[in-house]
Structures are given as C-alpha cells and as structure tokens.
Subunit: 178 residues, 2 copies
C-alpha cells in the first residue's frame, strides 16, 4: 500500500500548525486529495508522586470550548529532544521536577490528517520547584489517585485521547504488566 | 478560565477538515491567536470476536507516511448517529457485523487545535458479512489476541492514540475492571 505525491499546495503556515493539500496517486492509479496538518510533534507526561498519586492539569481548550483535565503536555521546540521537552513541560505546568523520566509510548494523534506524533513519558521521583507557565496558557493542577484517574476515564471527566492512552499505559508499566 | 472570540477568519474548507484562525481575548484581557481545525467527529470500534480476538485494520496513512495498525474507525456523515456510524464502519472495514455495539468512551483527539471528538464502541457477537470499502481507502484486516494487541502497544507496532485508548479501555470493560 502506498500513495505517491503528485502535487502539493501550501494553504496556511501558522504558530502551532501548517496546512497543505496534496494531490496523490494511489497504487491502482486513481487520483485523490489528502489534507495534511503539519505539526512539530509533542510530548505527554504522566507524573506519578511517591505516594502513587498522579498530577493532572486542567485548562480551557478553545478549539473544543471546554475545560479539559489532561496529562501535562506540550509542543516540541525546533530541534528539542523529546525527553528534554518532557522535563521542561513538567516544570512549567506542574511546578515539579522529576528524578526519573522514562519513555513509555509513542503515538500519532490523528493520522488521518495530521502528522503530529506524541512521545509519552512516565515521570517519577518528583520534587516541588518553581515553574513558569507559557504567557498564553493558564493551567491548574489537580492531584488524584490512579484509581480516581481511572474512574474519571470511565465517567468522562478525562476525555482526551493522549491522557487516556498515557494514564492506562503508565499504570500497566507501574504494575509491571506491560 | 475562558477565552472569548474577537474575530474569526476562515482559511480553508475541505473534504475532511476546515481551518479557521480566531483572535481571542483571555480573562486578563490579553489577546492571542487560536488555530482551529473543524472536523465532523468520528467513531472508533473495538471489535472482539467470540474467542476473544480483536479485529484490527492496517492502512497507509499519507499524513504520516506509514502503514499503521489501528482499531477500525471512520468519520461521521452529516447528521449520522455515532452508534449507526460505528455499525456502518465496522461492516465496511472488517466485513463483520455486530450483535452488540456498546459505547465505552468519548475523547477529543488533539484538543489543542482540533475539535474532533471520537466516540468509541465495543462491538461483540460478530458475524461475517459482505462489506464495501470506501472508494479512496484500502484497508487490510489483522486479527490478533488481546494479549498480542497489548504487546504491539508495548513494542510500538500499534502507535495510534485512539487505538491505544480504545484497546485498553475495552480490555478494562471486558475484564469488568472499569
């Protein structure tokens, strides 16, 4: 299976995303259109305290018009290593730094139209520190037990794909099942 | 926490997505830009056979330039009920129909810039039937045990956020843990 690019039209170049529309040829020769969001990639962090509780962040998400409760996350700066980005975002969003940052997962988020890939980290050995949030974001911390986080997935209070994936894989890892 | 729209500029109106760029006012009065992908919403299905095996689909994803192994999924038609869409996509992509289709989860996929919401269903009581794939997609079926699917999450062969979230929540549901 493959699709070959015939032509590519840049539509928009922005702060977080770019959009281009490509004309492609499928293996059987038919021609189709593919809309592609270009994104620098991102990290998500599951910060687990020594007592087993997880630090989540709540913020207003303009695109969906709701406050969402999520794992801490952020976009890679140009050239930034994902693990370094995870350490930076953890401090910025939660005012904690980690002794151990361990890669647990990589996923695409919406591969039907976006190339955004997310690197997930389990952060442990947490210590409070001074963070500094990005100027145009406002994030509130909520610290919950892993059992409560799972209940929030069940009842819809956590309704963000990266957060569901990250929390469940982190729990598997912590319980040595994965 | 809230952000109020000051103005909105439509950039692109396409087949799968639209893009608009809004100027917004934050609660403290500062002004910022928000890039928003508009999407009709989607469904993801975790089809579990009577013997416990899961039907996954492999397809080339142009946006990321790779073949990905995913749960069956598809975009809502205008006005379509998510459960009806799940039943339709299950037949189209896997050539199976389900006796039971049960909602197990809702998540946004990339709420930082996209309003796409995904409704997840557990499909059981599966029976083979005749499907008809969409003209511009080519999907291959792979049937694996749930244990193999978890191994594929661990080793990176399943690297799609909705698939990780859907598979792990479906397993919780099947094992009556969630």
């Amino acid at each position: 299976m493959n699709e070959k690019r015939i032509s590519s039209e840049p539509i928009y170049s922005g702060r977080v995303i770019n959009l281009r529309v490509d004309k492609i040829a499928m293996e059987d020769g038919r021609v189709a259109t593919r809309e592609v969001i270009e994104h620098h990639g991102a990290v998500g962090i599951v910060p687990v305290m020594d007592d087993g509780r997880v630090i989540l962040v709540r913020q207003f998400r303009y695109a969906v018009g709701e406050d969402l409760l999520e794992i801490p996350a952020g976009t890679l700066h140009p050239g930034e290593e994902p693990a370094a980005c995870a350490a930076r975002e953890l401090v910025e969003e939660t005012n904690h730094q980690a002794t151990r940052i361990e890669k647990i997962l990589f996923t695409y988020l919406a591969p039907g139209y976006s190339n955004e890939g997310m690197h997930y980290y389990l952060a442990t050995g947490l210590q409070p520190c001074e963070g500094q949030q990005d100027e145009d974001e406002h994030v509130e911390i909520e610290i919950v037990t892993m059992a409560d986080a799972l209940g929030m997935i069940e009842n819809g209070n956590v309704r963000d794909a990266k957060s569901v994936a990250g929390l469940l894989v982190a729990r598997e890892r912590l319980e040595h099942r994965l």
